[in-house]
């Protein structure tokens, strides 16, 4: 039987992969018809990579407590599919490197400004050029913050608050950052000297690939009350920063992949595929990895904080405004594993929740949502793809039950990089964007085709699917004015 023979459509945008062949729980996929077709094509190709097969692998891991989830932006990753969520029991469950990825706490920070679209339109070229200068990006770029190894340890332990204390930020940045910019349980000793050495020059750098900095305008308000709470209004200019934990996170991932390969063997864990190497959550290996992930998360928070400061300074100067009027709406990661409290079958439990290419999306009333947003749930930030829209959404009470309070993180890729290069040309994309009034400044000229908007799924339908599933509510659609890429 093919894997799709075990799939059943149970709702408008909801499919269930029935437990079979070693699966301990079901898989549940929230996706629209276009995505399901794509998943089916992948699954039918025995040589290709399949997100549904990866979801099946997640559902086969020890200690998983409820269906393994795939959100509407699902596509194949390594280990978990991207857009994958898996919650595990703290005593019997495992922690999986492939459930987090190499770019630990990669995420998006959204800044709002007092500017209107009309204020920046005449000067957008200069504003974009200033930001391009101000924010280091691309391979080999170096951050403005010069840190010693001792200071790196403080970044890893303290996260964004440390950067704010160094003078790069304001207190409210922290109030509106997930976990207040400081992940719990960080232990710098769990991070190798090599990882720290690699990070030395990279705090405050954007990186490359799909990372970006965008100046955007609020194109449409979709949920006025929540938008008001988030400080967003139509035509307002905002800035999105998409980046992660840079080389430090990458090295933590590489170090622990190896360590987990040993641990899987040592503890005799039956893993469905080598890409799912893992350790018992309670084992010394599992605990050390969690401490290292918290360090990686702090590094990413600190990185987005340092870039926020650069953006704030540059934009305030370019536009002649007070820097402190540029404020953080929210900062949220989409690659992590954390201990969280969730209700399962009517019982409140502490669980280890992995989200790979998925954000947290806590609904109304949760204590860890900033007070000003508590009536709605915290914002989730859905990245667009150069020419297309980004979205601000928020979590729901239903999403807490259906998806451990998780949200989509972007459109999700539809084409491989190879296919994108064959289909698109960088110079044509550049002129298409210019024709749409979007400035693109890229350090990496060759990579533009790989990141072409057409290489991704349609973000609007992915957002609609998340809304139809009842897990996320769209609050505002953002349209890019200028895109800066690594």
């Amino acid at each position: 039987m093919r894997i799709f023979d075990h799939m059943e459509r149970v709702g408008d945008v909801e499919w269930v992969l029935a437990p079979h062949d070693g699966m301990l729980v079901a898989g549940r996929i929230y996706a629209d018809a276009v995505t399901i077709d794509q998943l089916r094509r992948e699954a039918d190709d025995p040589k290709g990579w399949s997100a549904v097969r990866q979801l099946k692998n997640v559902a086969s891991l020890p200690g998983i407590v409820a269906p393994a989830l795939a959100l509407p932006d699902v596509h194949p990753g390594y280990g978990f599919p991207i857009g994958g969520v898996g919650a595990f029991d703290l005593d019997d469950g495992v922690v999986v490197v492939g459930g987090v990825g190499f770019d630990i706490n990669c995420g998006v920070r959204l800044l709002r400004t007092p500017l209107r679209r009309g204020d920046v339109a005449p000067a957008i070229d200069r504003i974009a050029a200033d930001l391009y200068q101000a924010v280091p990006a691309g391979l080999g770029s170096k951050g403005a913050l010069r840190l010693s190894i001792k200071e790196i340890d403080r970044v890893l332990r303290e996260g964004a608050p440390y950067v704010v204390r160094l003078g790069s930020g304001i207190e409210s940045d922290l109030e509106y950052t997930e976990e207040k910019g400081q992940a719990e349980g960080a232990e710098p000793d769990a991070v190798s000297a090599l990882a720290k050495q690699r990070q030395f020059q990279q705090v405050g750098t954007l990186g490359s690939g799909n990372h970006y900095l965008e100046v955007q305008a609020v194109d449409e308000i979709l949920e006025p009350r929540a938008a008001r709470a988030f400080g967003l209004a139509a035509d307002q200019v905002v800035v999105s920063i998409h980046t992660g934990s840079r080389a430090l996170g990458h090295q933590i991932g590489q170090d622990y992949l190896r360590e987990m390969a040993f641990a899987s063997e040592k503890y005799g864990i039956r893993i469905p595929d080598q890409e799912m190497v893992c350790a018992p959550a309670r084992s010394p290996e599992g605990q050390r990895y969690l401490a290292a992930v918290a360090c990686g998360a702090n590094c990413a928070f600190a990185n987005r904080q340092a870039i926020t400061h650069l953006v704030r300074t540059s934009l305030a100067r370019s536009c002649g405004i007070d820097p402190e009027t540029i404020q953080t709406v929210y900062d949220i990661g989409h690659n992590h594993v954390r201990i969280e409290e969730h209700e399962v079958g009517g019982v409140l439990r502490r669980l280890l929740v992995h989200r790979k290419g998925a954000t947290r999306a806590f609904g109304p009333g949760r204590g860890d949502v900033p007070a000003a947003y508590r009536e709605f749930g915290h914002p989730t930030l859905v990245g667009g793809t150069m020419g297309t829209s980004s979205y601000v959404m928020h979590g729901t009470s239903a999403g807490m039950e259906l998806a451990f309070g998780s949200g989509i993180h972007g459109a999700g890729r539809a084409l491989s990089r190879n296919q994108a290069i064959k289909r698109f040309r960088s110079d044509e994309i550049l002129s298409d964007l210019t024709a749409k009034g979007i400035r693109l400044l890229a350090h990496d000229k060759r990579g533009i085709a790989e990141e072409a908007p057409g290489a991704y799924k349609d973000v609007d339908s992915v957002v609609r699917a998340a809304e139809a599933a009842g897990i996320n509510v769209p609050v505002a659609r953002l349209r890019p004015l200028a895109v800066i890429k690594g």
Partner: protein, 140 residues
């Protein structure tokens, strides 16, 4: 070119080959760097030596490729030429390798994307009719 980029939706899948394990590993490294920079423009001016051990060839491939990613962050070095020898030991396998390159010159080397790490997805080292293949997926 003794390597190809395979289709993976999000990441970079590579198949490299050669007449020996060492050659396949060298081509794998070249394929990885060719994704990040114009390797044809990187002069083999500076050498870095590597001695690595692992209990499987797959682990050894990951260790080799992961090690090569470090100098770009620590000393700004990128590579374009690789000499690799792999032999068996009592405990498994040992690699003695050399990577040659020069400091990154963003204007000249045209960097494009960045390999974040080497995954275990689709990881394979095998011999078929006298040809050694090294296959891996890198997170980009």
């Amino acid at each position: 070119m003794p390597f190809v980029y395979l289709d993976h939706t999000a990441d970079l899948a590579i198949r490299a080959w050669g007449s020996s394990i060492g050659e396949a590993f060298a081509q794998a490294a070249l394929a990885m760097f060719s994704k990040m920079i114009r390797t044809d423009r990187v002069r083999p001016m500076i050498a870095r030596e590597y001695t690595l051990q692992a209990n499987s060839l797959r682990e050894l491939l990951v260790a080799w490729l992961a090690a090569l990613l470090v100098p770009k962050d620590v000393e700004d070095l990128v590579f374009s030429r690789f000499d690799v020898d792999v032999h068996t030991t009592e405990l498994g396998f040992e690699l003695c390798g050399r990577a040659l390159g020069e400091p990154l010159d963003a204007g000249h080397h045209e960097p494009s994307g960045e390999v974040k790490g080497i995954t275990y997805l689709g990881l394979d080292v095998r011999e078929e009719t006298g040809v050694w293949y090294a296959e891996f997926v890198a997170d980009v």
